[in-house]
Subunit: 410 residues, 2 copies
């Protein structure tokens, strides 16, 4: 039986990053860049004002104060978006709006709150406008320098990053209306078993409704991949093979059920018959031990366990990293922290445990506790969990109060 | 000037939860339940086997061991999905698969690994099959009881919960192929300013590309709401009013720019002219001070600041909670923790600060540091941040090594 780390290594060794595609930036959220982005221009593109106020020359404001203001002539008005023609000379100022180009001759901006308009004076037949300055500026004060945020040619976002809202904003400000991202993998989902019925069918004795397709479909969506629902295959070799073949137009095929030791567990048998290169079967973990992984025609096939929680946790531990790697996401942001265990736990040696847990921050530490019975069919404790407690293979008894590794779920 | 807490209270006081709609369960991920869900049936619906093995009577296995096995007659074979007809009598067993109904007369299941088939014996003209049992069972061992996970009538998921993959699985197992969720709010987004151009237009002096629409669009999507892009309005009263009116078919209108103290900041003026009930203008925070909030015809209008980071942070602090409340999400899961500050910070008294930060877990504590210059136009430090350091109004100087509040971003 292979352990979790080895199993993950086997999977990631056969995963290939998918080809890239060009998409409109507006659809970029959550997609993974397939190339490094270097800035095509400076941002900001010009020295501009960080404030509404007056562009001035620092030297004209020396020693200015409220009781002893300096009076400057306002020679023009510069709005954001304007290209100022004037150049400031001694004792001149320009009224300027946030984001507007700093006029030639000025080196700083004084905010409007530190000034007062003087009644305009008529001189030589025209209106002259003046402003009183109450404070000395510093050279460069309230001026945003060209290239201050981003310099032309700079590496702005490395390939392999999942695009956040802020990344999208940066790409917009650089004028990149289309971006190259990795294609999203398509993931086929097949539930198996004579006992499994569609959720709107009538429930008769011995049957259970197909919840696995629904959880897996949602988990695939949450990863940013594209699910394809293949429905349910009964435990009949021909039906199973036919359904699995319907998934071969996808990048990954997930089956659930039919991979344990029972004689009616057909999935393994059919996968082998179809020529699947089976890489491993059974992983030393709980829940999720009966997992088959293999490849067929460059597609990945995961034969997930049939129990609802086992299927979800196998997805989280093995399928999700495979999907992220296919999408080119080299930085997996899933957070692992350690937390103080609020209860004692005993476990079977040799298996890695993934316990459904609620983990919360209290007085500067994380506390964690299981969310109830951990039977691998019990979805309720999975729904109540915000995290998984991960207990290593070699442990048998973990005392209350000990720090354990916790991985947050979505 | 209103403070952050008061401003948020004003906003949430006028927010109303949107009406609910019935959607297919398969589209439920991330939607918010608008009703409590009580279980319509027990899960599991019948006592069933947790293992592949043999259903037995505990009393027949007493003192069984590998050297001294008990031999039982296998009277039938129960697959998952079967309805067993037979009832076990003394010294009888039934071969049983995981998930199959426990037959009458049996009280426990022994896993297949603790048994061995005995060569079948011909007796009275028919084949009789036997199995050796190597271990004593306990009553109830490896039996999943009817209703063990969920009892009929039990409150399974309370209204107001955002549906996770596990919730979707539970609803599927209860046969709920459609669910009532809150409608997703529609959010109109309008960029304003003479200096703002579309991202694929040619950049001329004084102009800057419209990044705010792209960040806001992505932030709206990330919250689960539906964005509507109204484009850019120049600083012309008629144009601005016309564009804002185009957003009145939405639940929320976001404008960016045009809300500071400058004479060209038209948004406030136009909103007032259109009859907006303006609730506040300017919040004691940095970045994000120039924020206008009001209502018009039962729609919420947020006049966000024009600087890219100010606009993003105002969204995070005020618009996101409004959207979540509209969607009925009463449990906001945004995580706030405290972290050890890796640098000293000085700030202006009276304003709450939201600093872009990188926070990581190291040796049992969170460490946090700012991601570079905090100018409100500098998106680069926002893109590098995974969190915001939140510094309270009353502070002026925070020393390195002190614990500060940190909120994680998506």
């Amino acid at each position: 039986m292979i352990n979790v780390n080895e199993a993950l290594k086997v999977i990631l060794n056969v995963v290939k990053q998918l080809e890239s595609e060009k998409i409109p930036l507006i659809k970029g959220l959550g997609r993974v860049l397939s190339e490094d982005i270097h800035a095509g221009s400076d941002i900001p593109g010009f020295d501009n004002s960080a404030m509404d106020g007056y562009a001035v020359r620092f030297s004209d404001t020396i020693n200015a104060s409220k009781p002893k203001p300096k009076t400057l002539e306002v020679i023009c008005d510069i709005k954001a978006g304007d290209e100022p023609k004037a150049s400031l000379k001694e004792n001149q100022a320009a009224r300027i709006m946030t984001g507007a180009i700093i006029p030639k001759g000025s080196d700083s901006v004084i905010m409007v709150e530190d000034t007062e308009k003087v009644k305009s004076q008529k001189a030589k037949g025209k209106n002259r406008e003046f402003v009183e300055i109450f404070k000395e500026t510093k050279p460069g004060e309230n001026v945003r320098r060209k290239g201050e945020d981003i310099k032309k040619g700079e590496l702005v976002i490395p390939g392999g990053k999942e695009l956040s809202s802020a990344h999208i904003g940066i790409l917009a400000s650089l004028g990149m209306s289309r971006v190259n991202v990795c294609r999203r993998p398509r993931v086929a989902i097949l539930a198996t078993g004579d006992e499994v019925i569609e959720i709107d069918e009538e429930l008769t004795p011995g049957k259970l409704r197909n919840s696995n397709t629904y959880t897996l479909y949602s988990q695939v969506l949450k990863c940013g991949a594209i699910p394809k629902n293949l429905g349910i295959a009964k435990d009949k070799p021909q039906e199973l093979e036919k359904k699995i073949r319907e998934g071969l137009d996808c990048d990954i095929i997930l089956t659930s059920g039919g991979v344990s030791v029972g004689d009616y567990d057909l999935v393994k048998y059919i996968l082998a018959k179809m020529g699947t290169n089976i890489k491993f079967w059974q992983v030393a973990m709980r829940p999720g031990k009966p997992l088959v992984f293999g490849t067929i025609k460059n597609k990945l096939i995961f034969g997930l366990p049939g129990n609802p929680v086992s299927s979800m946790i196998s997805f989280e531990v093995f399928v999700r990293p495979a999907i992220l790697h296919m999408m080119g996401q080299i930085h997996d942001e899933r957070k692992e922290i350690d937390a103080v265990l609020e209860e004692g736990i005993t476990k079977k040696k040799g298996l890695r445990y993934f316990l459904r847990a609620y983990t919360h921050w209290k007085n500067g530490v994380y506390l964690t506790r299981t969310t109830g019975p951990q039977g691998s069919a019990i979805l309720k404790s999975m729904a109540a969990a915000n995290s998984l407690i991960i207990l290593p293979e070699e442990e048998e008894k973990i005392e209350k109060g000990v720090r354990v590794t916790v991985r947050f779920l979505d």
